[in-house]
């Protein structure tokens, strides 16, 4: 597959489709949730978002001073951290509220 061919762009734009479906499902779950469940998810997001931003900032600052091996450490490696941080935040929030 040569760089710049239309198929490369199409393949790159495919992942957002299931991601958008997941976001829509999350919105539907949030609408059906009661107030405590919404608070739990809000607290999980309050943990996940700043932690992910922190990782991005660290990587960005590293790039300024260090020659990074893009194959092993690039921004695309960080997106998977957000669900991990979200899960951790949700577990902590559930324990806080006795669930």
């Amino acid at each position: 597959m040569e760089f710049g061919s239309g198929w490369v762009y199409a393949a790159a734009l495919l992942p957002p489709i299931p991601f958008a479906a997941a976001v829509w499902a999350l919105i539907r779950v949030a609408r059906a949730s009661d107030e405590l469940e919404r608070r739990l998810h809000l607290k999980a997001m309050a943990v996940a978002f700043p932690l992910t931003m922190l990782m991005l900032m660290v990587l960005g600052l590293l790039e300024v001073g260090v020659e990074l091996d893009r194959q092993n450490l690039a921004y695309r490696h960080l997106w998977g951290l957000m669900p991990l941080f979200y899960a951790g935040g949700l577990i902590a929030a559930r324990r806080r509220y006795g669930q």
Binding site: D34, E35, L36, E37, R96, Y97, G98, Q99
Partner: protein, 64 residues
């Protein structure tokens, strides 16, 4: 905040699920309120007061 939710539910032979269904919330939410881990919002507190036909102040009281 302390509450008498569990006592009031037991008086009526209601399970947590029964109360949750009447209040339109999950059983876990009722459990968190009963154990004092979560303070309900004002609308939910009013709903619970209406369910038990009692004033809010008789169900919920501030920690002393």
């Amino acid at each position: 905040m302390t509450n008498r939710l569990k006592l009031l539910g037991v008086e009526r032979n209601w399970t947590q699920q029964d109360l949750a269904d009447r209040a339109g919330v999950s059983r876990q939410t009722i459990n968190s309120i009963e154990t004092g881990k979560y303070d309900p919002s004002l609308p939910l507190a009013f709903t619970l007061a209406r369910i038990f036909d009692a004033p809010i102040e008789s169900i919920f009281s501030p920690d002393t």
